[in-house]
Symmetry: C2
Subunit: 458 residues, 2 copies
């Protein structure tokens, strides 16, 4: 689907010219003629972009912009303010009111289109994150503005050290963020061992523009900077290089004559967006973690354990090293539940899970496999090492009685453990699980609280 | 971090030249001198890209490529084969063996770098998906090749209808996928109301190259095509336009003289990748769904319900319409559990959940709030409508006894329901929940199996 764009202008010919500008990309365009109507349509239709005239008959565009930013249903919609003024103070006011861009007439059609593509691309990415994490968050401007107060890290990259220094100094009075300066080469080498910056300013002059565009592409292809907003400073912010920069993934363009306050504002806007997007990505991660973690014990659940076991098996095939699988089951657990109730049973499972985890390596997989059943997979482990580990786990669980919270009771829990080892490339994870399970059965029927090792079947 | 690249070539000077080519971007380069060493290092270090000479002392590069594609730990690593041959059949063999690209010497440094950026960017995106969904899948070449057999949809876009027709005809003998042809304008308008294609071929000639690059940017900025692989056909596949296309997000470049078999192979490779990525994205979605769904009833869980309620409140503020909140609790549920056991209790909860859901609108939120407690939120709903809906739910649950699976028992379940309505912009979701909860308490203490409506507090 092409983006939906709302054009707000009371002069019909202006709307027609704008619409014609956007026509080559076949966007869905709707129109409004005053501020109140703009707000109404924006709430109802939730367009992907609003192009707002600075002069509307009922309210000035900046006031409309502020109103849109206050309303929960419109506060995230990108806004470009179009004005016949090119006064830097007006532009600053518009940006402060929350406009994403301020364009002075006459409008450069190609730049408007490139800016539109860039805005729609960024909005699409955020919308996707938001759809993925709708439930865990209501992240919006309110939350973001509190993050706004915390210090960020801005990197200025330029081939001209004097230039970077000037910019750094002019920013010093405007923002409290840490600002580092780097050469292009240092940037390519430099983020390697430290945290990457929150925002990057690529400052080009007429001779370095193509080098900087290539650097932009390079940074966009790298793991640690591909989500980092990049603001590009260009001699001519309306020329072909600006269009290229936007299409290559730059988030914002400023001219070489930008004043320090505006530059600071634009960098901080990108910083804020970065934080919002990071937060959304974290929420997605949290949601995914919840799907694979057993809430009672914090161990991985069965859903996670089985594919992960496959992965361990694949790696083992590559490294030609053995790996071990164990099935563990709490002995006579039903008695605990029946005698002391479910809360006590839960406390026992939680404590045993914690002891199992604490007595294994971080590379070992520990999962809650069922009610009172656990699964362990140990990569690069011999039969003897697995037997020792299993015995250690058994002993640690048996050694100290478990206190039942809110009571004076203590329960001594014990584990039966079945161990199996993959000793040739042909053992599938399923085979191994079955063998560990049979060994567990032997441990149970031999009297519980013991480790049984699966005999090889060949 | 810059990407890690393994250069496999037995001629030291070749390795040095390649390494120098890659130096400007400061990649981490490791080296190997024969096929066996290449496979060993690839398994151990899992580089982001392997640049493989077609002539290695122990095996030919294509054989090494096949071996890498078979091994589970290396099958996803991108491979560029470098050869002194420019024979189309050799190139075809390399691509069939699973190479991502085949480059004939002399190597165009800029193209190699652009291709490397493109490969690392695509790999980064896939790796991120895979990290997000490691547990739900083991999607790799094995699974993908089964999908390989199903028909895909390929769109050829060109400003030259005769050209598109020729390409379409030449592909007809090679692939079974549906191939549609479009003009650039039709493409911009055209995917609007139907499903977007799996792969797009943008065919440019010398006069239309810049138009096609712009179209590429436009398609990349759109929701429905931003994940669609785009193969760009260019008069000169080694020139500046090719570099621009790769940096703007094209996934592959072919020359105008490409033969039909190679073109088909490259399109099918992109199709396969698209399917893999779609599958991974689905897995992430599934994982996220699991995090917000109550497994017993399939209703949303509390974790989802509370932020969603906030969202309903925000929308209500915008539309100036009322919304209703209900708390519902199964009457004397403990008796069911104690008398018939947990399985019977679960069956009752599941059936009641289903009846509640079936008797409400799709815009209403229905969540399992606790053990036997449910939450309903109804947007754009008046007090009277909410009361009627609550009464309907109560009646439907009471009306038909619930069969307990595996037994002859039937249980008549009843619900107590508390209703509250947000009638002014100042009512927070928390206030409403409290009022619905108080109303539920009244319904319980008045004798259960009834609806109680919260009296307004102002």
């Amino acid at each position: 689907m092409a983006g939906r764009i709302l054009i707000a202008d009371n002069v019909a010919t202006n709307r027609i010219v704008l619409k014609a500008n956007l026509a080559s990309a076949f966007y869905d365009v709707s129109q409004s003629a005053d501020g109140a109507q703009t707000i109404r349509i924006a709430i109802k239709e939730s367009p992907d972009l609003i192009i707002l005239s600075s002069d509307l008959p009922d309210k000035c565009g900046i006031t409309v912009c502020e109103a849109l930013r206050r309303h929960p249903e419109t506060r995230e919609i990108p806004i470009i303010i179009v004005s016949s003024s090119s006064d830097p103070n007006t532009r600053l006011l518009a940006l402060k009111a929350g406009a994403d861009e301020f364009i002075s007439k006459p409008i450069h059609e190609e730049i408007l289109l490139a800016k539109t593509r860039s805005i729609l691309r960024a909005r699409g990415a955020i919308e996707e994150l938001r759809e993925n994490a709708p439930s865990f968050t209501d992240t919006g401007f309110a939350e973001a503005s509190s993050g706004f107060a915390t210090q960020g890290q801005i990197a200025i990259i330029s081939a001209d050290p004097a230039r970077t220094e000037t910019i750094q100094q002019s920013l010093a009075n405007q923002i409290r963020d840490r600002v580092e300066t780097l050469s292009p080469d240092a940037a390519l080498k430099g983020f390697r061992n430290k945290t990457s910056p929150d925002v990057i300013l690529l400052a080009a002059n007429s001779t370095s523009a193509s080098e900087m565009l290539r650097l932009l592409s390079e940074l966009k292809s790298r793991q640690d900077t591909r989500y980092t907003p990049i603001v590009m400073l260009l001699e001519n912010p309306h020329g072909a290089d600006a269009i290229s920069a936007l299409d290559l993934g730059a988030h914002d363009i400023v001219g070489a004559n930008v004043n320090a306050e505006e530059l600071a504002l634009r960098l901080r806007t990108q910083l804020k967006r970065k934080r919002q997007a990071d937060k959304l990505r974290e929420n997605v991660q949290d949601g995914l973690r919840m799907a694979v973690i057993d809430p009672l014990t914090g161990l991985y659940n069965r859903r996670y354990a089985l594919p992960h076991l496959k992965h361990i098996a694949n790696r083992a095939k590559g490294s030609q090293r053995d790996y071990a699988v164990m099935m563990l089951d709490l002995d006579r657990f039903k008695q605990v539940n029946d005698t002391y109730g479910h809360a006590a049973g839960d406390a026992v499972i939680r404590e045993v899970a914690e002891r199992i985890r604490a007595s294994l390596r971080s590379v070992d997989l520990v999962a809650r496999y069922g009610g009172e059943e656990f699964l362990i997979a140990m990569p690069e482990t011999s039969l003897e090492q697995a037997r020792i580990a299993a015995e250690r786990v058994r002993r640690i669980v048996e050694a100290t009685p478990i206190s039942i919270p809110g009571t004076n009771h203590q329960i001594t829990a014990t584990l039966s453990i079945g161990v199996a080892i993959a000793d040739s490339a042909t053992q599938t994870p399923d085979d191994l699980l079955k063998r560990a399970d049979s060994a567990l059965y032997v441990a149970k029927s031999d009297g519980r609280n013991q480790v049984s090792v699966s005999e090889h079947t060949h």
